[in-house]
């Protein structure tokens, strides 16, 4: 076996191959797996540190504050300080807690969150396990986190944590459906469940512009719905009810402290990256560049660039919106998200079967197809929004004054 | 804006409107001239309802409820009495002697209600109608009727008067301590209240700075 010459795009693949190449033959599969696991853990754990800093800085700036700026230059060492703090803090376990389950819950959560990265293509030829049913794997693993959340909430023996766990599970189960349904549109069009194949499908260029699914009307709507569901799935604001600081204090991890708390914190962010990564894979062309003349930029830079952009959106939304209430959250999931995702699937189907050319004109065909599909998505949106308005009696009010 | 009737007029109106009610006007000598009406216990809720629902008065805002503690007071007067004084030789001589006699006026607790009308907005504007209810004494007969059924706003304030003064409001729906904790025994706003000896301040090194009562120092 010989190694190909390293290029910027394939540098990490090359390094891995080089390392595996120099291990004794019987250990090569193991070495390969270890390389990948280590890389994923190191990269995403550092991304976590970066994101925490980014979030605190970004929120600070949105709120006209500086954000953390005391540890290191511009506060860049703040995550390290945070880590040291949570590692050295006392680990308090309630006396009446179920100790084994209480101990296992954060571990299960973190493990499940990290497993999801196995199928994410974070660069060209950089998928850890190229599963044929990659998307299915992602969702199957994601469902394990619900159980971990339940374990944490139940084992703490605290009313707030139980309320938080119930909220979290109800929310995650409800939003998993629109999450899966909106990805089904992509699976339908791409004709595969494999994440790498889906990215390959999008990494094609016409007139120098990539075939990202987000550039189609159903893809755009699906992407927005996917990201909303992802926000709910990862308990981010405005769907952070399971934590609901002002209501149930910290929800299911109220009784965790020290390192275990840090693990919950970590898992939450890791999940957020994973779901964002899937969103990128499904709708934003994975590691591909949007225009062909930028294709020389290494694929992994594209992936992480997109990931950072999505993270910034998450932070932005968090800095702006108040939290929903439980019944509103459920209503939103079942009465808005679910029908909308069904219409997105319909729109994708129409997209698939509408002729690409009308009256011999490719341009006209493309425009007609675009408009028809957009209409299929927009019409229910307008109707549902109206229904939501009249049903919930939400109105903009005018006020009277007494002299 | 309608004019607010004077205290005397109010008394007349109440006595006409609520048969049997005994109202006493208690004058207020201060520049504020906010005179008040002392009600009898039996008719107080009826009077309150009358004041609330009377079409000209509509005193719908019971803004302030509070207890007041009036300690036992002693009045001393000098009177001349004839007395037999032992004379220098042994025989008693009747003589007029000046003697001070002390009359003790028993103290009482008072519940004071300040009423306004949101609907009528009477003139003069900042002049409340003041109602007073007095307990028989400060020790065991500390009951007055509750006006919470008439005005919800009395609920917490009557609880507070109960908590801090020990005035028991008969007919209050939920008469519990409100500011002090449940196991607390005394009524701290009373004038003769003495804080418990194990006051946590006493353990501070500079407790000497804290004089027991400012009044003594003055």
């Amino acid at each position: 076996m010989t190694l190909p010459a390293p290029t910027a795009d394939q540098i990490w693949v090359w390094i891995k191959d080089w390392l595996v190449f120099h291990t004794p033959a019987p250990f090569q599969p193991l070495a390969s797996i270890l390389c990948i696991v280590a890389a994923i853990i190191v990269v995403f754990a550092s991304l976590f540190a970066l994101t925490v800093l980014l979030e605190r800085k970004g929120l600070g700036r949105m709120q006209n504050r500086y954000g953390p700026n005391r540890v290191g230059p511009f506060g860049i060492l703040q995550p390290i300080a945070d880590a040291v703090k949570s590692l050295t803090k006392e680990d308090i376990v309630p006396r009446s807690a179920d100790h084994v389950v209480h101990y296992l819950a954060p571990l299960v959560l973190v493990a499940a969150s990290f497993l999801a990265y196995a199928v994410l293509p974070i660069g060209r030829n950089m998928t850890a396990v190229n599963l044929d049913a990659g998307v299915l794997f992602f969702f199957a693993i994601g469902s394990a986190t619900e159980l971990a959340v339940f374990m944490a909430g139940w084992s703490s023996r605290n009313k707030y944590s139980l309320l938080g766990a119930m909220r979290a599970i109800a929310q995650m189960v409800s939003y998993e459906i629109p999450l899966i349904l909106s990805s089904i549109a992509v699976v339908m069009i791409a004709g595969t469940l494999s994440t790498s194949a889906i990215v390959d499908e999008q990494a094609r260029y016409t007139h120098g512009i990539a075939h990202w699914f987000v550039f189609t009307p159903w893809g755009l709507a699906g992407f927005i719905l996917f990201m909303i569901a992802a926000t709910a799935e990862t308990n981010r604001s405005p769907f952070d009810l399971p934590e609901g600081e002002s209501e149930i204090i910290a929800g299911y991890f109220i009784e965790y402290s020290g390192f275990k708390f840090a693990l919950f914190f970590l898992a939450e962010y890791i999940e957020m990256f994973a779901v964002s990564g899937l969103g990128i894979t499904l709708f934003l062309g994975g590691w591909s560049s949007p225009v062909s003349f930028l294709a020389w930029i290494p694929s992994w830079i594209w992936f992480f660039g997109k990931l950072l952009a999505l993270i910034c959106c998450f932070i932005w939304v968090r800095g702006t919106l108040p939290r929903l209430r439980m019944d509103q959250l459920m209503n939103f999931a079942w009465k808005f998200m679910l029908p909308m995702t069904l219409f997105v699937i319909l729109s994708a189907g129409v997209w698939r079967f509408l002729p690409a050319t009308i009256a011999g004109s490719g341009a006209l065909g493309a425009v007609v197809r675009w408009l028809v599909c957009a209409f299929i998505v927009l019409l229910p949106y307008v109707t549902l929004a109206r229904a939501l308005e009249s049903g919930r009696k939400i109105e903009k009010r005018e006020y009277r004054f007494a002299e | 804006m309608t004019a607010l009737p004077t205290a005397e007029d109010l008394k007349a109106q109440i006595e006409a409107g609520v048969p049997g009610a005994q109202v006493t006007v208690i004058p207020n000598a201060s520049p504020s001239a906010q005179h008040s009406l002392l009600l009898d216990h039996e008719h107080a809720p009826a009077v309150a309802l009358f004041l609330r629902d009377h079409p000209d008065l509509r005193l719908d805002l019971c803004t302030l409820v509070t207890g007041v503690d009036w300690l036992d007071t002693e009045t001393t007067e000098k009177i001349k009495v004839k007395k037999v004084v032992p004379g220098p030789v042994g025989a008693g001589i009747e003589q007029e002697v000046e003697e001070t006699r002390k009359t003790k006026i028993p103290g009482y607790l008072e519940a004071v209600y300040h009423l306004f009308s949101m609907e009528k907005k009477h003139d003069p504007p900042a002049m409340p109608v003041v109602l007073r209810l007095r307990t028989a004494n400060r020790i065991d007969q500390t009951h007055v009727p509750s006006l919470t059924p008439v005005w919800r706003s009395c609920e917490f304030q009557e609880r507070e008067a109960f908590d801090l003064y020990g005035i028991v409001f008969d007919g209050h729906p939920d008469l519990r301590r409100i500011l002090m904790w449940d196991g607390f025994e005394d009524y701290p706003m009373r004038k003769d209240y003495v804080p418990p000896a194990d006051d946590s301040l006493a353990s501070l090194p500079f407790a000497s700075l804290q004089r027991a009562s400012t009044k003594e120092a003055r």
Binding site: N64, T320, L388 | F206, A217
Partner: protein, 226 residues
Amino acid sequence: MFGEGIIQGLVETARNFFGSYVDKDRLVTVQYPEERHQLPEATRQFPFLLYDGADPEAGLRCVSCQICEKECPPQCIHIEKSKDKKPDFVGKLQFYPAVFNIDVSTCMSCQICVEVCPFDAIRMDNQFELSTSNRFAGLLYTKPELAKSNEYYRKIHPTEAAECDERRAKEAEEAKAKAAAAAAASAAKAAQAAATSPAGAANGASGNGTASTPVEQPAGKKPVTQ
């Protein structure tokens, strides 16, 4: 209900985000230990005792009248009167505080002691970094810690101090004139002695034996505007 309110909110936060990099009005944080807010002249924290001249002991204006002790709402001032007397700035013999303690942990910075003091002896400091590791003794300020010079007062409250100095100069002038008149009427020796005493805010003439009447607390003078 199409989400336009949400979009509007997002635009607003984005504007603030970018605004905080360019607009001084948006990013108002003062980076405290390095940067410091310019304290307004009126700022008050905790009381201190004024003295004239260089010697905190001799120049202390306080005559131990104990009005502030009585009026202090949280009762944080503790004064013990001296046995002997020393002359004040107009030369009158006055008591002075043998002990003057302020429990800063109890003080609530209300400035009432300053208002009621007829002798301009107590004023408010603007020092706020008073943290100490000793929570009891460290926060009980005694006379040496409380005494601050008039120069310091002029520095932290210039307007107020100028008014105060002027008033006191006038009073000293009047007292001097009165003393001079009295001296002219009685003896030349006394007048000479009075003339040696420096005018103004400085220490009253030492060794002046003229005014030996017991302390009369000036009752009428009430500081209305500080």
